[in-house]
Assembly symmetry: D2
Homo-oligomer: 391 residues x 4
């Protein structure tokens, strides 16, 4: 490994996701055997702010022109943390410039963008480049344990999947506008932001694809105070005149998996008391699992093979050395946090580059999710009539 | 109260529900101030079996001809615990014979039956008779606390309601047929049996009605061993040749409440590990609640009025003297069981007879639920396109 | 069974425990195959009150002189629900009068009384009589599952036992005096009332005896308003001048089991927020269990034999037909309540009379518990120095 | 802040604790406004191993002679992660050399060592130096919320405190020896390792001191396979002949706080199924709290000021911007992990150096804990007789 060349990263964006990605680049080599990696450049629009962020988050340099950065010979990986409307342009340019690419989820704001990105990736892949969409929840150890249980047949044929992602940060009507609440920047609201996570997870954990979906979207609060700074954190700063919210507050759908299971999906930003409640339940003929992101170190497993009178959902504290990725961290029972999933994701990505093995979650995975989201929106327009997901 | 005449009850049916109703008639006067009540006659088809059941469950007599019993002058209340396909005939005859009536839920197997029952009730009501549909979960103390919180505005305008009723007793394909799996006796499967409970609860707790619904039904296991005894408990005895299952195993729907909230409904008999998991979640702008029937003594309440940094779902152990119905039982923290809900229901019913106040859950409530179920089935036939619920 | 003579019961006391015992006598034959049993006489000091209670709770007669009642030829079982200071006198007289006896726990207010009661029982036992101390929590189905797991070696050698019984009904200094707070009637406070339960359970579930104990007792609130009615419910009516509390509010101890495990015991009536939180944890080399009375239908079991990476405490919902006593009640997942434990206890007792097999919990069990409590009080007087439990 | 001189750190030890401390030094400045800090030197006995660890964990240099390092002018902070028997020697030397000092908990292996360390600190403090003992659980946000609730009187006068720290990594008798199981290196077993945490937390959260304690210690498994590497992780490598375990496996005590509350303490390394279960419960007259380290982002709070019938333990997900330290991390509901407590600790320490305010947890705190542990051991030798804690 020592002989592998150092991979130098440039990240574009330094708000919530840029901060989360930065910590992963900064820490990944302390825990995992990966190729040497360097935090080379952090890119943002405001020179002063991005310089401060670069210093704070451990980047060697900062820059303001992403186009220039992706042309630099000393950069190997472009990490796109910018809003969704910029994903396609940056990612495609970076792939054409010969870079490996990380794109934050969802892959894009539309199916059309995602299709172009996949095409660009396929061309780049033929040149030995790698790319992922950062569906980071695939890298929660408990989720990986769940996936393996399904893959090993421990759940048997599946009957029901229930996935939801409930938050409440828009519950207050006074919470102001931000780029996440405008269609032109965010593409959609809870549907893309949260629905993309669960649409991916359902397919990833079950190993099956969503064939058809009936669904809907709604916006509970149609106008909010404007005046946000535009590139800040999750919540804007507010204070301005009322502005129209042009994305959904909540979305839902009932889908069928290729194997026949019924899938319930629901996402929202207005479920008071739910802070980051992404839950996944999978019920099979021989076993069942439950997961809640607010307790991400736990997986609940019901094993139908347990003795009669002794069956029950068991709480597996997924913090043991033989659990996926966990051996790199701390002794049994010392829980990890949300951001560790990014470290796992980047470790997997770096090693797929080193070994030239397929990187995942792939742009194809990202496109498939985008098509599910598009089908929900179309079904919503058709009074929830079921819509087939394009292949 | 001592001067109030004794109310004499005849119950029809002595399987699962007959046993549960019997205990409620036997115990209600020990805990609640109600008119005097007597367990007069238990009615069933098999003379020997019903006599044994009557002796065991505390009934003074047994009989085999329900038509005869409802004509007896010494009977005041007819309690219908027979399968759904007999509800309309018995209840209407009993109302016409001048009796008060209890009908187990769902009110009937079809909207048409329910409409005729309501008409019969309305005529009887004018003569001073009373009738209820036994949606017993309205009488869970925690549910009543929830309903009051909503009614008092503690939750504010509602955004999301999530209700599910998950069981697993049909998970094993070897589980045999019973009357509950045949359309001619049961009307539907999980939809009517479990869906009726949550359709009623959602409307009861929120005080709003379901306006429209998009939904579906499915049968995972299309054939099961036949040979059940026909009038037994939940599970038949099996052993026969395969017989076609003619009801649904699972059903679901997305509804909108009159006030705009989005409602997710799901019921199933094949969610392995879920024994009796009826859950209800209501998210409002100012507060939220959660409930799970497997822990029916608990209500989880998130109060948005709690101080910043101190908010959270709190587990109210609904076992205190100032909780509804609970004062009649035991000291704080001494939990009650599932069947206590029947005692509460009958206490309320007996007192509504005594005081001649409206009895609830009413036949109108039962009909409304039946229309929601019918709308789900119709939507299922229309590729889940949303269907308005008839008024 | 039909030929077995009817057992006629007289109960002495009709407050909290009398009410709970009454429901068990009233319902036991509806669920369990037991000898015929009749609620013959309810005994109390106030003729009017006891007559009303008898009518309400299903007793054929009432009476005010317990000495007279225990001499009646038509009474077979004397059920002692009076305060602890009357247990010895009544139970011994009843045994000498040839009756079977139920004594509410703890068996008595002192070791000396318990020794005399055991002697009386041994003489009566030679004449074919039966007697139990009503440690009803032995009859929680989840506790019986736990006991069997230990007995079957599923936990292996035990290392740690942790038992506590935390309530909060004395948390408010304004809560008035009652017979439970005076040494002359109650013998002790939390120690006897709650500590007796956990001292019995620890020994019952583990099958081992407590050899030695170091402990203490304390009274947080030394004076309370007097004026209680004297024979009422748990809480007196208050309103009088301050009266000295002469029993403990809380007690604790560390014990060693005969097999070497370390046992932590703690009971209190002033743990705010704990309504009826009797918890039991047993940690063995091969498995562990956890139980909480506020969720008495659940047992948590950690099976060290589960596969690596798949281990965890599993929640067994102890409501299935193959769980002890549960088959008599309702389908899977339909929970039972606190008072059902009395029904189980009396079913076991009636059948031990019918079959003339040893009845349990025995007076010897009651005496052993009394000795543990006495050892805790003695240790408390000796600055918590460990004291051996008498044999 | 920019003008504050850079603080350069040398850490001694790179096993479990060295790794945890390293990540905190590496990340603290990315999240908190602290003086500039540099990971200057990592010190260990084996030159090759420590060089590799230094490279991995982000240290600029490595070294093998700690005495040399503490004399270097370019080092400001000495961070002692070596086994307990080296704490006193290193810390005293470092203080005498003018360095600020961090000592991993417990402060030392004996009261005498701790007293010498405190004396050295007091001399150094007069020269402007700072030192802490790393009781990192003080820096769990939920614990800090708990402490503030107590300090603000929200719990009222305290009645009961229950603290335990249960692990199971020594449950298997085949688990081999390591430095943690030898008295000469570790001082004690679970008592010092785990008991020091809860003895500190109880006093920190309540703001009261432990006055007297009755307790005991035990060793369940007296011999284990030898042959560990000696400086590795938690578990040795085993394989050698049996060696005598010279420390406790479990310890416990009942203490009284200065304000009268009763405190139960229990720690063990053999509670199967408990991975890292440090729990704290505090019951006061007006409120109560509960905490479990395996879900360290949650605090359960029972507020006696909540309305009648609406009271219950509420789960506060301590992940909001207005919770202590949390604003530095991620949006609401994005949980942090175990190691974040080290980041918080070092942020507090660095700022106390910068501002020259008292650093905590102080060496005096460490000594006080050591005296509690010593009192438990003494009580254990005296048949658990209560022992006063020296002041």
């Amino acid at each position: 490994m020592a002989s592998y060349k150092t991979l130098r990263v440039a990240a574009i964006g330094y708000a919530f996701m840029g901060k989360a990605h930065s910590q992963a680049w900064r820490n990944v080599a302390a825990y995992f055997d990966v190729p040497p990696v360097e935090q080379a450049v952090l890119v943002g629009r405001n020179a002063e702010h991005v310089a401060a962020a670069a210093a704070r988050f451990g980047w060697a340099e900062s820059a303001t022109d992403w186009r220039e950065v992706i042309q630099r010979d000393d950069i190997d990986i472009i990490d796109v943390c910018a809003p969704g409307n910029m994903h396609a342009e940056i990612a495609i340019a970076a792939l054409e410039a010969g870079k490996h690419v990380v794109v934050e989820k969802p892959i894009a704001n539309s199916v059309e963008e995602a299709e172009r990105m996949l095409a660009a990736f396929e061309a780049a892949s033929a040149r030995g480049q790698h790319a992922i969409v950062n569906f980071n929840y695939r890298r929660v150890p408990a989720i990986e344990v769940a996936r393996r249980l399904v893959a090993d047949g421990r759940l048997g044929p599946l009957h029901h999947v229930r996935a939801s992602y409930l938050q409440d940060w828009l519950n207050d009507p006074a919470t102001p506008m931000s780029w996440r609440l405008r269609r032109e920047t965010a593409g959609s609201g809870a549907l893309g932001d949260l629905g993309s996570h669960i649409a991916d997870l359902v397919q990833h954990v079950t190993g099956e694809s969503i064939d058809a979906v009936s669904g809907g979207v709604t916006t509970f609060i149609g106008e909010r105070p404007g005046g946000d700074s535009g590139d800040g954190g999750i919540k804007g700063t507010g204070g301005g005149a009322l502005e129209k919210v042009t994305v959904d507050d909540a979305a839902w759908g009932t889908a069928h998996l290729s194997g026949g299971a019924v899938v319930q999906l629901e996402v929202t930003r207005l479920a008071l008391g739910c802070k980051n409640a992404m839950t996944l339940e999978v019920y099979g003929e021989r076993g069942s699992i439950r997961f809640d992101l607010e307790n991400l170190n736990e997986l609940w497993f019901f094993d139908g093979a347990d003795g009669a009178g002794e069956q029950g959902f068991r709480r597996i504290l997924v913090t043991e050395a033989d659990h996926p990725w966990v051996g790199a961290w701390w002794p049994d029972g010392h829980i990890i946090g949300w951001e560790h999933t990014f470290v796992h994701q980047f470790a997997e990505f770096l090693n797929s580059i080193r070994d030239d093995t397929p990187s995942s979650p792939s742009f194809a995975d990202g496109l498939r999710v985008q098509r599910v989201l598009a089908a929900i929106e179309e079904s919503s327009r058709r009074s929830s009539q079921a819509v087939r997901v394009a292949e």
